[in-house]
């Protein structure tokens, strides 16, 4: 089995549009959450959301390429060009090597709704235009990135709810570990628009707050009352250690464990056993003891039941080690399909810069989380190994373990 390393990362998120901006936000505990009046006017119960500017791609991509790229694809593209640049991968590399792409995405709501609206009005399918189909399919990101960068390796999308991004990294890790691929672009992206999140808001699980939107996402706090939707794009370049060394690539970290599980239970309410097994499976895959982990990036979205059950699961696995834990969703909100990838990047940034980002808004810790070592304020600390949790609807769970090289 081969070693799998990360040679490039790129991020386009509500707390920063590149790695440097995100590093500053994480260190300073800066929130990217706003209150969007347009959502309230549209019938949302909560107007809270993470927000990013839509990137201007006219100078970067041709008309044909832009026409096929929906909102989530545009975020993914921005993250990917940063990741490739950091990995020192140029276009010629794709001609000479079989590079793949596995990306997490689980909706293209805006593209679907917009083209359907045209169809309803015009009563003519041709008038939705040539790009509509390529923007509307769930595999929109992998089909577009593989076309733009002329990729010739593995090429598919992972749809696994809010664990999509994490599983994409896990799948890429396995394909490289087993020798089937040398280099894979992985990640996750999430559209941010009122068309994408209405049905989620309708479940009554989004946070509401009087006053400062930055206070709304408060994982593990007693006063938490729901998650804040968010989005953007996050890309990681995975590569075999041999390939990275051969081309003199920067080696940012190593993936040493991937654990997954399914709850086998309720469609939306998480349990304790499933996440706990995913974490244990990741530790088993990495062949390390829980005490070796220096930091846990929790999935914790700021929902009452979800955070409590994750706290219990983390306590089961890491209780004896008293491992530092934080949820960066306190700053970013829940980046959904993107979260599993972005949070690995957040953890990597912390590991590279020796700090644990704070779980902001934790004023009165809840009963289950009180047993954990939750980091409320930025902690300057050396991290050699960390674990990142991601869970999703349907009870899909993923845990990844990353190590400093």
């Amino acid at each position: 089995m081969r070693r799998v390393v990360i040679t490039g990362m790129g991020i386009y998120s509500c707390i920063g549009k590149n790695l440097d901006e995100v590093k500053t936000s994480l260190y300073e505990g800066k929130s990217g959450i706003v209150n969007d009046q347009e959502r309230l006017d549209f019938g949302y119960r909560s107007g809270l959301t993470g927000m990013v500017d839509e990137p201007e791609l006219k100078k970067l991509l041709s008309r044909r390429q832009r026409l096929s790229l929906g909102e989530e694809g545009r975020y993914a593209y921005m993250a990917t060009i940063e990741a490739l640049k950091n990995a020192k991968i140029e276009d010629s590399f794709f001609d000479e090597n079989e590079v793949g792409v596995i990306y997490g995405n689980d909706s293209t709501a805006r593209s679907v709704v917009e083209s359907t609206d045209i169809l309803r009005e015009k009563k003519d399918t041709t008038l939705v235009g040539s790009g509509a189909i390529f923007k509307a399919m769930n595999s929109t990101i992998t089909m577009n990135l593989s076309t733009i960068f002329r990729l010739r390796g593995v090429n598919f999308t992972i749809s696994a709810a809010c664990a999509s991004g994490s599983h994409s990294i896990g799948m890429g890790y396995h394909l490289i570990k087993s020798g089937l691929q040398d280099c894979i672009i992985t990640g996750g992206a999430q559209e941010i628009n009122k068309l994408a999140m209405g049905s989620f808001d309708g479940l009554g699980v989004f946070a509401t707050v009087d006053g400062d939107p930055a206070k709304a996402s408060r994982p593990f706090d007693q006063a938490r009352n729901g998650l804040v939707p968010s989005g953007g794009g996050a890309t990681l370049i995975l590569e075999s250690y041999e390939s990275a060394v051969k081309r003199g690539a920067p080696i940012l970290g190593e993936i040493i464990g991937y654990g997954f599980s399914s709850n086998g239970g309720h469609i939306s309410t998480p349990n304790v056993d499933g996440p706990s097994r995913a974490m244990r499976n990741a530790l088993h895959d990495a062949n390390i003891d829980a005490s070796v982990i220096d930091y846990v990036n929790a999935h914790a979205t700021s929902t009452p039941v979800g955070d409590s059950n994750e706290a219990k699961a983390i306590y089961e696995v890491f209780g004896e080690s008293n491992t530092p834990v934080s949820s960066t969703k306190s700053m970013t909100g829940h980046e959904c399909w993107m979260a599993g990838a972005s949070e690995v990047i957040y953890g990597m940034i912390m590991m590279q810069n020796s700090f644990v980002a704070p779980n902001i808004n934790l004023e009165n810790v809840d009963e289950d989380a009180a047993k954990l070592n939750i980091v409320k304020e930025t902690l300057n600390k050396k991290i050699d190994v960390f674990l990142s949790n991601s869970f999703g609807f349907g009870g899909t769970n993923s845990a990844l373990i990353l190590k400093k090289c």
């Binding site: 041709s62 044909r64 026409l67 003519d124 041709t126 008038l127 235009g129 040539s130």
Partner: protein, 82 residues
């Protein structure tokens, strides 16, 4: 008001340059839509969209059977409008 031939040509040239990002210097009556202007099969779908929004005329695939050059395209739209 009936559009003149010149108006039609101007409007087509404008959306080819603005929306389809065709190089202005490539615009010529005898320009081949595929070889010179670089339009592919997917672009022909978007030509239908552009014609509908600019002229209020709905084209179908068969309309393009004998359309090879930009002049053929100008003529097609003129026939549809008049």
């Amino acid at each position: 008001m009936v559009m003149t031939k010149e108006d039609i040509i101007q409007k087509i040239d404008d959306f080819l340059i603005d929306e389809f990002e065709v190089e202005e210097e490539d615009i010529a009556a005898d320009a081949n839509l595929k070889d010179t202007l670089g339009l592919d099969s997917l672009d022909f779908v978007d030509l239908v969209v552009a014609v509908e929004s600019n002229f209020g005329v709905k084209l179908v695939g068969e309309d393009f059977v004998n359309v090879t050059t930009l002049q053929n395209f100008y003529d097609l739209i003129e026939r549809k409008l008049h």
